[in-house]
Symmetry: none
Amino acid sequence: MNPETAIASKSQAPPAGGHRATERVREILSWYGSDNPGTKTSIARLLNHGTLAGTGKLVILPVDQGFEHGPARSFASNPTAYDPRFHFELAIEAGCNAYAAPLGFLEAGASEFAGEIPLILKANNHDVLHDEKDPLSAVTGSVHEALRLGCCAIGLTIYPGSANATKMYEQVQAIAEEAKKNGLAVVVWSYPRGSDISKAGETAIDVVAYAAHIAAQLGAHIVKVKLPSDHIEQDEARKAYEKNAIPIGTLAERVRHVVQGTFDGRRIVIFSGGAKKDNDEEILNEARAIRDGGGQGSIIGRNSFQRKKPEALKLLRSIIAIYSGTAR
Amino acid sequence: MNPETAIASKSQAPPAGGHRATERVREILSWYGSDNPGTKTSIARLLNHGTLAGTGKLVILPVDQGFEHGPARSFASNPTAYDPRFHFELAIEAGCNAYAAPLGFLEAGASEFAGEIPLILKANNHDVLHDEKDPLSAVTGSVHEALRLGCCAIGLTIYPGSANATKMYEQVQAIAEEAKKNGLAVVVWSYPRGSDISKAGETAIDVVAYAAHIAAQLGAHIVKVKLPSDHIEQDEARKAYEKNAIPIGTLAERVRHVVQGTFDGRRIVIFSGGAKKDNDEEILNEARAIRDGGGQGSIIGRNSFQRKKPEALKLLRSIIAIYSGTAR
Amino acid sequence: MNPETAIASKSQAPPAGGHRATERVREILSWYGSDNPGTKTSIARLLNHGTLAGTGKLVILPVDQGFEHGPARSFASNPTAYDPRFHFELAIEAGCNAYAAPLGFLEAGASEFAGEIPLILKANNHDVLHDEKDPLSAVTGSVHEALRLGCCAIGLTIYPGSANATKMYEQVQAIAEEAKKNGLAVVVWSYPRGSDISKAGETAIDVVAYAAHIAAQLGAHIVKVKLPSDHIEQDEARKAYEKNAIPIGTLAERVRHVVQGTFDGRRIVIFSGGAKKDNDEEILNEARAIRDGGGQGSIIGRNSFQRKKPEALKLLRSIIAIYSGTAR
Amino acid sequence: MNPETAIASKSQAPPAGGHRATERVREILSWYGSDNPGTKTSIARLLNHGTLAGTGKLVILPVDQGFEHGPARSFASNPTAYDPRFHFELAIEAGCNAYAAPLGFLEAGASEFAGEIPLILKANNHDVLHDEKDPLSAVTGSVHEALRLGCCAIGLTIYPGSANATKMYEQVQAIAEEAKKNGLAVVVWSYPRGSDISKAGETAIDVVAYAAHIAAQLGAHIVKVKLPSDHIEQDEARKAYEKNAIPIGTLAERVRHVVQGTFDGRRIVIFSGGAKKDNDEEILNEARAIRDGGGQGSIIGRNSFQRKKPEALKLLRSIIAIYSGTAR
Amino acid sequence: MNPETAIASKSQAPPAGGHRATERVREILSWYGSDNPGTKTSIARLLNHGTLAGTGKLVILPVDQGFEHGPARSFASNPTAYDPRFHFELAIEAGCNAYAAPLGFLEAGASEFAGEIPLILKANNHDVLHDEKDPLSAVTGSVHEALRLGCCAIGLTIYPGSANATKMYEQVQAIAEEAKKNGLAVVVWSYPRGSDISKAGETAIDVVAYAAHIAAQLGAHIVKVKLPSDHIEQDEARKAYEKNAIPIGTLAERVRHVVQGTFDGRRIVIFSGGAKKDNDEEILNEARAIRDGGGQGSIIGRNSFQRKKPEALKLLRSIIAIYSGTAR
């Protein structure tokens, strides 16, 4: 079989093996002109792996729920997920671009699965044994650990709106600087939360767009936010939305607004699936809205690993098919 | 030939290409006798770039609004401004002396526009998702990042009057020390704010002059404050103003007072334009007052980038013309 | 399905995109049990790229000739090779596993070709402007530079037999330790040379096997040596070869002996093509002997880049076909 | 006068003051894709200063003769040149792109002339009080000193062919790595010399091209070599020149060959004027040959500062006119 | 209960698992009063492992022959020994106290055999591809590598008598200091050799005793020397031996003299077996003489791994039985 034909017939095939990167990947890399070739290579590794390789789209499996919510809430519904190797296998078999997890989960499989799936070290974490209004993540990983484990990126959560946000911004500053020196990419989970933000405000369009913008200003290469609602939280912001008639009626419009607010689309923005949903169609519709709004992809945790592997694979592959264009 | 005349007659010609610095630039550099030649060179780069090169005056484009107020409030009125490249282009084409922005915005253009406009890394930032009485900026940049991005200065905000002011003064101390070792200039945005200062007090003449003085005492080479009103906030201060009959009736007088309070004019003091104004003449009058009061220039953010580029260029060039002497 | 067969039938398909590593790759990685997952990932990146991805075989393009012999001797026969981008393109288009070059050549393309071909920073070099009996390579790169450029390995030459060998062994010790901490792989070029070794001795079977063993003892993950002749250089060694009747009559037997001497085949050993040859069949026969003797592959420099690109591609692909099993 | 017209009428005017960089400068910067924006900015500062600003050509004044040959041999013919300020003024008034000197000479003027001329810290040096066959330069400056003095580049000499060349290559490796991290450019003076090279060989075409290539492989952004003669020093090289019929008959052809050998023209190569010549026309003819051969410019030391200032200015300006196209 | 009896009656049972160390081990540890508990623990690990655990005696398997003499001379007579795992297994199964080898050999098994046998990293090495009168070992390992691989000691060779001895003494100084800080033990192989020592002198009693003393003075915890002959090399020494009528007639007397010279027995001294011998009884007699002379044990390389495993095990166990007292 001729390799050219092979590639042509299955467009998701990664550009490795004698081919230049796709135009789209090269375009995305051009957004990161201040980064060294090492960091560009790490971003390319994420973009060139899995079923979506070369498309510029990303579906990432994140599993930090055990730390965030405890093991029973996270894994009891699918007990094979207690085993860290389950998540490596799920990400690999589903054709994801990457797997993101805290230090311990990565340590428990990085050697066995070396080279099989790009890894993102989730390097700060938060738990709910202490329940605070203004959350603060603890730094639980480092750039050295990311290099030791073969990761291509380091991930950090910030909680804009928290009285402790300043500390987390400074975590990002210090760790991102070190990561970039060493050729790693930086992923920032930006989740508004805190004493001055209402529950509805955490996913309000103005707040989510603002949170994504902050992550990009902090130097993130990849920004991850929750899907925004059409609620507007801040009065001053409402004036701007109304005066400028910013369209936020549909989910796709809101995605588009977030992407625009994140350097006019010149940073990769991906969206999280949130809590487990019973209705798969709802999840797929979200992926369609992300795609239609110009989002770069999804990061799907609880909705994948909290079900049996065959169903998890089915869902992840359905989402991937939406991004790859092989499904509507 | 008198250097002032020389500059006046060919105001756009940069002093490079076979010329000594102007007398005025050399005079300004003489104020910074404790600084190493690297820092002096960085100050000179700011003074020798753009339309005002050589005049000793500065017009700087700052764009940290996205971080401070969120993207929609900042850019929705001129959506091309969502793209970080817009601001580089605006600063360059308007003939500004420099462009100041947070890490992410600089990273998104520093390579593409290398060498075209002096850059100032705005290395701490604050957002309004958490609304506090006593604001604290987060450190979001570093001297190493400034060097990596080719900046000639690092900029920091302090909020004198905040219960957290101490922490920000210490940010300035540590970062300015490191910046000066490495040949960078230090710009301090000094914005009084906090639980003990009234809204009117934030721009009161006594408070602004005090805030500018603190910035200079912290070692800033360039101090940026808001234009002061004739309100006097502090009773103890009022006695001094009244006893000594300090003239603060006109804006130019107040500018002169602030400049005097900042080492008798031996530090560069520039003034911010504040929120977007509908009336351009008001903005130009402010520039005239700054000029007449002996201020070194303006830092114009929202009033420039929140309008379409042709209008933004028109306004910036009008302001620059006031400082260069080609307009009244 | 047998992994060998699988690979044979779709030889260009990289193992990325939803697949576990091949059995062979996992077996090879098992040899490096003392290495961290980062280094294993880097070795896997080399093994999983290009046409030979997954087979456990490697064909690498090395271009340090410009430094070693000067530009005219290296590139005048194919002047497009003066351009550093030529070599990136050649390695990518030929389907090589990796491209190895000194700092300058990598810097001249690492950004443009980020993520398209695994890179090896050749971090010491030697030139012939000073002609010495006992050569010493200069350290011309570092682990930090390798990370900055996105390399997955660092390469160093040792000249066993040189009076300066001690210094080069110590270069390897220090740099390999740092590389392994940071998740890089280590490639050692082991080329016997020096005042006590005859010209024939430089490729003598006893000397080459010894040189390969030294490289492995120094901690190399990948050892590169020249193809050995049946000459025996050292008298003490001859006794061992004769007493134990070690078969060294054919090139394949000699390759097998070198591989055995390098930890009984538990380290990757690849062989260099040497000076440009006029007869392609001779080069292909060497590849066949390497394959038959259990060598891991070839590193082909002058015989590829010193010819026009179509011929270079043709030769490299013919060699790769021998290793992949699609050609005899 | 309209600034647009101003620029149009004197094409060498620097791109500062409201203009994007010239196409040529942007093209040159594109060669350095692995460098951070800081280093690109430093290269741009060199390219955008002086009469040749924006043309992509460089004329640099280097004054390390005092260290290399002693003060009397260097300055007695023009005693005003004993004063370090003379050289700053000469470089500035002549419209040079930069001034390069050892630590002491820069310290003696960097503050007084801050911002008036880009500086290059010549960070290793050699003297003739100890006369050795195989010279070794001493490290006499550092990246920190370059930053402290406001330099945009650090310069290092290597003597390929010296038995001590290895040590100097390692100086370049360590210092260039540090320089690039901190946003400086790296200039390497590559002067073949040593026990195995004949006097004629020091400027032999094969040796000079080889020396330039080594400097580029060591990571230099700017390579400085002597003008080559048509002598060929090494027998192995002669075969390559003859077999490939490399044209080296004229000086322009030899310049072209050196430029080609230095990454096919994708690194800046400039040529030194050498010892003082009596005949100015000879010097100008050399500049014409450098221009015609595609060299990036000249570095003119003894032929400028060893004459009275008016004559020195006249010569430097004549050379600059050749590069700018205003003279034949 | 007498500790000797205790050991004799259950010779393979290590004292671990609920027992205090034997009196003898505690006595030996008392010699190292200046060492931190970490280093004492490391010495105890060596003394408490294998058949001789608790006896204060040591039999160690060293395999650096591949580096020192090349793979064919080392392993061709027993080809299974090409595989690094063979040596781990041999040391474990024979009941040795420890296994000592260079970096590469340890890396090739340290993970697989973790915790099964105390490891000594042989951290400098010499090869015979360059034949010099005054040998110098290259540093091929480090304290960090020893810690990474789980070693309890680091081993270094010195060649007293070599013109390069100074360099090796300084290697020991630096590495031993670092090792002791990190809780490792230090083993020094002290082998007199060099241009001023005759072949017979290398094992002369005066020279061997002197070499052992130097090792102890350099801070070695364990000193390894060759068995001495009754030859006296140095005239000045001969006077002392004769004047004081030092008994050196039997091997046991000479062992006793070496032990006395090494801090009167307050340092562990072990003796090497040397080249492969055909007559096992000769080897066993040497062990008896070491035991009778108060030596601490043997380090047996070529005489063990150069034979098939069953014979190698038989010999090692016979030697161990001599030290444990279960054989004569």
